[in-house]
Symmetry: C2
DNA sequence: GTCCTTGCAAAGCGTTTGCACAGAA
DNA sequence: TTCTGTGCAAACGCTTTGCAAGGAC
């Protein structure tokens, strides 16, 4: 996404595209590694010298509220975030802590099984050991 | 499950069945409302006057480690727990905060799609508004 | 005696809140 | 001026840790 497109997208979501907000979104969309608040803060602090963690919290909660970013629930206490994109699931490696994007699964909640519930969001999280860590264990 | 069966089950999992541990498990298995540490503590404090939150934390982490109890990841910061049972998914109401057990969905992760990953746990969490809260909103 | 369960107190840490300053409109 | 974005400092709340007392074996 170009800077112009991103600014337009933000405006359409009622988010005024400040420099800080643009950089936080760009960073998340480039890396796609489900960063924590702390990781975003540490990564951007050098180029945005006055950045504070409070601002990262503020920006992320605004993004989540407006639907630009999703919060991921994992086994760890620290929340993780990702830019909204096509449906997919997550795999968390309990050894290295890395989160992998994996293909979505077909949901089979039909009218009958969840009658009366208004579903707004769905998350599928697998937990286990990733190929890399499995390989390291062998050696 | 009878007291005797529970004690046997604990012993088979290498958990010595103390009074505190038995009561915490029984409470969770009776209620099945995915309680927080605080809820368990407050509910059992009257009958176990010397109970402390630290003990609840200790017991729960032991239970999770031994596979007697599962920890649930939800949108809220506070962790929730449930006694291990058949595969199912969760629906969290963002209005009242209640967690509902819902039918499981068929997973379609075949060899090809997740090759090399060792999957130990899977969680499906839906988020939205429950029938009761939807009804209340209308009025 | 040793080992284990329990629990008080304190620390740890991610997150939120209060509030104020600066820049934009 | 008013509104908005930002950020320091403090508070908050869940969880973990250190450590000691009591009981089981």
């Amino acid at each position: 996404m170009t800077q112009e497109n991103l600014q337009e997208r933000m405006r359409s979501l009622d988010i005024s595209p400040s420099v800080t907000r643009l950089r936080i979104y760009e960073y998340m969309d480039e890396r796609r590694d489900h960063p924590t608040v702390d990781q975003i803060y540490k990564a951007l602090a050098p180029e945005l010298p006055t950045l504070s963690k409070t601002t990262v919290y503020n920006v992320l909660s605004l993004f989540v509220e407006k639907g630009l970013v999703d919060a991921i629930n994992t086994d760890v206490n620290e929340k993780r975030y990702e830019t909204s994109r096509d449906d997919h699931a997550h795999f968390t490696c309990k050894v290295c802590g890395k989160i992998y994007d994996i293909p979505p699964i077909q949901t089979s909640y039909t009218e009958g099984s969840l009658q009366g519930f208004q579903v707004l969001k769905q998350q599928v999280n697998l937990c286990g050991i990733c190929p890399t860590c499995l390989e390291n264990k062998k050696e």
